[in-house]
Symmetry: C3
Subunit: 440 residues, 3 copies
C-alpha cells in the first residue's frame, strides 16, 4: 500500500537538500582553498553529477594551498611551482686498519668518525629555477657542499654555483648510494672535489651531455690565488631495454694552474677514511696544468650489476717529463632481496630502495658487491707507489632512507710512499669499515 | 499525472538525507580541525542555510591547524600566533678589477666568490615575541648574522641580541635590496657591523625612532676584552604622499674602547668584494673612543628614486688631534618596467618585486641606478687617502626572490694607501661585478 | 491534507541526492588523501549512518597526508610514522663577576655572550627509528651537539652517535631546564661532554637503565689519537606517587686514556660562563685512566622540589698516588605560580611550562631555587683548590618556550688555583648572571 508524501514533507525535504547542497559546496570551496594535495582533477566532482540534475558542481577556482610530500623529510610545495625541502645526512663510521708497523698512524684498534653530517635545503622557484644549499658540519667546521642555482624548463639546463665538475660515474653517484663506504681510490687521488663554476647540461631520454667552466672549491676562493680555471665535460649514453640499464660514458678535464706553476699532490687513503695516512702518495710537486680522461661503463640487469671505470690523470711539469697516473676499478654486485635492484638515474647510480622494507615485515634490501680497485701513482720519475685493493661489501637498507654498509678490503702495495718500520715498501694491509647512514 | 511517492520511498529518502547530513557535518568538523587556511568566516556556512531549514550549520569550534604561507620558503603559522619560516640566501659574485700594477692582489682576470650563504630561521611566539637566528656560512666558517629576540605588540618594541646598530639607510637596507652589489664605501670603512645589545624602537606611521646600547660583534665577545660599549640612535621621518615616499633621517653613535685605548682602522675595498686590498686605509692607530654622525635623505616617486647620505666618523686619540673622516654618496635610480617601483619599508629600502614576473610572461623588474660615492680617510695627520667612485648598476629581478645585479665602478684615488709599482698614489681603477642572488 | 509527490519530483530529488552523495564521497576521499590531522576515527562516519540506510559510508582508504603539530616549531608528521621538526635555541647571557684584583680576566663591568645558539632537526622514521642532528654555532664555529640514531619500539632502545654518556641528573637535564643558568661546578670540572658511542637503554615505568661504550667527542675524533674508550652506565629509580615524583640514581664511569698515559685537567669557571678564568684548577697532569661514581637524589612534590648529587672522580696516575676529587650540590626550589611545577621526564628534569602563560593573561611560571654547590679539586698532592658556592636563582617562563633566568652566586675559595694580586688564595667572589632563552 503506497501512501502519498505530503507537500509539506516534500518541501521540507527539498529545503534540507538545498541547505545540504549549499553546505557541500562551501566545504568544497574550503577544500579547494586549503588543500592542494586534495586537488582532484577538476572534472571529477562534476563527472558524478547527472547532467539533468540541478546541482552546480563547479567550485570557485580558489588558489590551492601548499602540499606536503615526504622524501625522508617533508617537501612542501605549491601548485604554482614553489617547493622547499630540508636536506641532511649522517654517516657514522667505525673502521679498522691492520697494516705493518709504522705504516699508519692508527693501526690496530678501532676508530670512529662522523664521515659526513650534512644540513641544507632544496628549493624550487616557479619559472624553472631550482637551488640547493648544503653544508657539511662533520668536522666541527662548515664546508660548503652543493650550493647552486639551476635554470631549465626542458632537457637543457644551466647551473651556476658549486657542484661536482662531471668527473666519473663513481664520483657523480652520491656518497649515499655508492657500492662501498668509500669511493674508488682514483677519485680521491686525483683530487675530485666540488668547484664553483658555470655549467650546462642536456638530459635526453638516453643521452646526457654535461660541460662547464670551473674555478676552485668555495673554500679556496677565499685565497687571493683564485685564478685556476678548468674546463670539464662528460657524455653518457644510458639506454634502457626492459629490465636492463646500460651506462657508457666518457669525461675529459683540463685545468690550468694559478697564474704560474702551482703545487699538486696525488695521494689516497687506504680503503677507509678514519686514517690520515696516505700509503700511495706522489708528494707535492710543481705543475702548470692538469689533464684528465675518464671512461665509464656499467650495466644493471635485474638484481645484477657490473661497473668499471678507468681514469688517466696527466700533470704538465715545466721542464720535466709529464707523468700520467692511472686509476680504475671493476665491480660486480647482486641484490639478494626479491624485487629489488640497484637504482639508476640520470647518469649515476641511485638509491637502493627496498620493495619490502622492515616496516612492512620484509627484509629490507640487501646487496653484495665485490670490487677490484687499482691505483698507480708512479710515472715519469715520480714514485708514488701502487695500490691494489680487493674489496667486498654488504649493503643493507632496512628502509629507504636508512642504510648500513659493512665492507672489507685487502690492500696490496708496491713501492708504497710510506715504508714499514723494517723499511719494507711492498706489503699488504687489511681494512674493515662499518657505516651507519641516514639521509633526508 | 502525478503518482504518489510511497511511504517506504519517502522514508528511505529521509534516511539518506539524515545520513548525508551527518556525513557532511563530520566532514565539516574534520575540515575545521585540520585546515586552518580554509577557515571560512564562521557565518559563511550558515548564511546559505535557509532559516526555515532544520539543518544545524554550526560546526563544533575545533582548533584550526597550521597554515602555510609562502615567502620564498614556506612560513608555517597557527591561528594563535606561532609562526616558523626557514631563511636563507645565496649571493654568487663574479668580479674583476683593473688597477695599476702593484695595487691590488688580483688584477686582470676574473674572481668568483660566494659573497653570502645564509641559513637560518624566523619565528613568532604568541604574546608579541619574535626571533631570528641566521648564520653566514659563505666563508667555510660560521658567522652569526641576525640573532635576536624582539618583544612588542604595538608601535613600541624591544630587542635583545645581535642586530645592526641603526647606522644608516644604506646599512639598514638588507644587502638583498641595495642599489649596487656592495654598499657605499663609508659603511665598510667605518666598521659598520652587527653587534650584541639591547635596543628599543618606536615605529609610527611616519616616524621611526631607534636606539640602543651595544657591545661587540658576537665573534668578538669571545675575546675577554668584551668591554666596549656603544650607544647608538637613529630617527627617521618617512611620510608618504600618494605615490611618493619621503625619507629623512639622522643617526648618532658613540663607542668607548675597551678599558683603555684600543686599535682602530678605517679602510675600504675598491667597489667589489673579491679583493682583499684596501686602497684607502688609515692603517691601525690608537683611539679611546669613536663618534659617528649620519644624515640620510631619500625620495621614491613612482619609478624614480634619489638617495643621499653623509657620515662623519671621529676617532678620539689620546694626546693627539682627533681625525674626522667623511664618507657619503648620492644616487639616482629608475625602474624601467611598467608598474614596478623600488620597495620601501620601515626606514629602509625593500624588495624590488616585479609586477609582471617572467613566470607570468612579463619582463620581471628592471632598475638602473647611478651613484657618486665619496670617501675621505685623510685628516689630522692621518693619510688614509681619498676614494671617489662613479658607479652604474642594472638590477634585474625576473621573479621576486631571484635577482641579478651587474655593476661597474670607475674609481679615482688621491693619496691612496697602496701605491702602484711606479710609486704613484694618484690613479684610477675600474671594477666590474656581477651578482646572482636568491633568497628565501 | 496530504498531496502526493509527483514521480518527476521524487526522481529529481533522488537524482539530487545521488549527486550529493557522490560529491560528499568525493570530498571525503579528498579529505582522507589530504588531511591526516583530520583523520577521524574510522568508525565515526559510519556510526552516524543508520544501519538501514543505503548510504555506503566507507571511504576508499586513501593514504592520509602529513599533520603539523607545534612544539615551539612545527613538527610535520605522517600517519605511517615519519616526522620532522626543526630544533634550535638561543641563550643570551649578561654576567658580571666581582673578585679580588688579579683573579679573573674580566672583573668589574658586565660581559655578554651568546651562551648557546643551536640549530638542528629531529626526525622519526617508520620502524622505530629516530634521529637528531644539532649543532652549536654560538662561538662562530660549528660544534656538533646531539647527533645520533636511535632504534627501539618498546622500552628497550639502542643509540649510535654522539650523546651525553649518562653522567648525572644535572648533566642529563637539558641546559634549557636547569635550576641555574650554569650547571653544578663538578659537571664542568670533571669534563662531562657529549661523546660518540653505542649505547642501550631500558625505560620502564619507574626504572631507567642506561649504558654504553663511548669514544671521544666528535671534535676530538679528528685527531688520530682517537683510541680512548669509556664504559658508562646509569640506573634511575623514578616512581611517582600521586603528585610526588621521586628520583634516586647512580652512575659509574670508567675511561681508559689513549694508547698510553695522556693529559687530564680538572677545572671550573666561577658560577658564570663569560669568563675564561678557572679559579679552581688541577692544572694538567698525566693519567692512564679515569673512574667516576655518581649518586643522584631528587623529589618533586607539588610546587616544591629538592635535589642533591655527589660525584667522585678518580684519576689513575702511573707511579703516583691516585687523586679522588669530589663535587656535589644540594638544592631546594619552589614554583610560586599556582598550578605549576617543575617538569620531570625519563630520569631528568623537564620544562617549566606555565599553566597560565602571559598570552592567557596569566603570570607565566615563576620558580625560585637555592643551592649549595661544592667542588674540591685538591687530593693526593694535587692542589686544585676548593670552591663552595651559595646560589639563588629566579626562573620566569612567561610562555612555555621563552625563559629568563636571573641568578646570583657567592663563591668561597680555599687554596684557589689563581691568587689575587696580593697573593691571597683564600678569598670570596660574587657573580651575577641573567639569561634570556628561547627554544624550539
Amino acid at each position: 500500500h503506497a501512501q502519498a508524501m505530503s507537500a509539506e514533507e516534500a518541501a521540507a525535504l527539498r529545503a534540507e537538500l538545498a541547505a545540504l547542497k549549499a553546505k557541500v559546496q562551501t566545504l568544497e570551496d574550503r577544500l579547494d582553498a586549503a588543500t592542494a594535495p586534495a586537488a582532484a582533477p577538476s572534472g571529477a566532482a562534476g563527472a558524478v553529477t547527472p547532467a539533468a540534475a540541478p546541482v552546480t558542481a563547479a567550485a570557485a577556482p580558489a588558489k590551492p594551498g601548499p602540499d606536503i610530500a615526504w622524501k625522508g623529510a617533508p617537501e612542501i610545495k605549491t601548485a604554482d611551482g614553489w617547493s622547499f625541502k630540508p636536506r641532511g645526512r649522517i654517516q657514522l663510521d667505525l673502521a679498522s686498519i691492520d697494516a705493518p708497523p709504522g705504516v699508519t698512524d692508527t693501526h690496530g684498534g678501532l676508530a670512529t668518525e662522523f664521515r659526513r653530517v650534512y644540513l641544507g635545503v632544496d628549493g624550487k622557484i616557479p619559472g624553472g629555477i631550482s637551488y640547493r644549499v648544503e653544508v657539511d658540519v662533520a668536522n666541527s667546521s662548515v664546508e660548503l657542499t652543493d650550493v647552486y642555482l639551476t635554470y631549465g624548463t626542458g632537457p637543457l639546463s644551466i647551473t651556476a654555483g658549486q657542484i661536482k665538475p662531471f668527473w666519473s660515474l663513481e664520483e657523480m653517484t652520491s656518497d649515499l648510494f655508492t657500492s662501498f663506504a668509500e669511493r674508488a681510490a682514483f677519485t680521491q687521488a686525483f683530487g675530485f672535489e666540488r668547484r664553483v663554476g658555470l655549467s650546462g647540461q642536456y638530459k635526453g631520454k638516453a643521452l646526457l651531455v654535461q660541460g662547464g667552466v670551473f674555478g676552485d672549491n668555495a673554500n679556496d676562493l677565499l685565497s687571493d690565488s683564485d685564478n685556476s680555471v678548468s674546463v670539464d665535460g662528460r657524455v653518457v649514453w644510458m639506454p634502457s631495454f626492459g629490465d636492463t640499464q646500460l651506462h657508457l660514458g666518457a669525461s675529459a678535464h683540463w685545468r690550468k694552474a694559478n697564474d704560474g706553476p702551482s703545487a699538486v699532490r696525488y695521494a689516497a687513503r687506504p680503503f677507509v677514511h678514519t686514517t690520515n695516512s696516505r700509503l700511495v702518495d706522489t708528494g707535492t710537486f710543481t705543475a702548470t696544468s692538469e689533464r684528465g680522461l675518464g671512461l665509464e661503463g656499467a650495466l644493471i640487469a635485474g638484481p645484477f650489476h657490473v661497473a668499471s671505470e678507468g681514469f688517466w690523470q696527466t700533470a704538465r711539469r715545466p721542464g720535466l717529463a709529464d707523468p700520467t697516473f692511472f686509476g680504475g676499478y671493476a665491480e660486480v654486485g647482486y641484490v639478494l632481496t626479491r624485487g629489488d635492484r640497484r637504482g639508476y638515474k640520470d647518469g649515476s647510480f641511485d638509491r637502493l630502495a627496498p620493495s619490502r622494507p622492515i616496516t612492512a615485515g620484509g627484509p629490507g634490501a640487501i646487496e653484495i658487491n665485490a670490487r677490484y680497485d687499482h691505483l698507480d701513482l708512479s710515472d715519469a720519475g715520480i714514485a708514488g707507489g701502487r695500490q691494489r685493493t680487493l674489496g667486498v661489501a654488504v649493503v643493507w637498507a632496512p628502509i629507504p632512507y636508512l642504510r648500513l654498509t659493512a665492507n672489507y678490503g685487502h690492500l696490496m702495495y708496491d713501492d708504497a710512499a710510506i715504508g714499514s718500520t723494517s723499511g719494507d715498501r711492498n706489503y699488504s694491509a687489511d681494512a674493515f669499515g662499518l657505516r651507519t647512514q641516514i639521509d633526508f
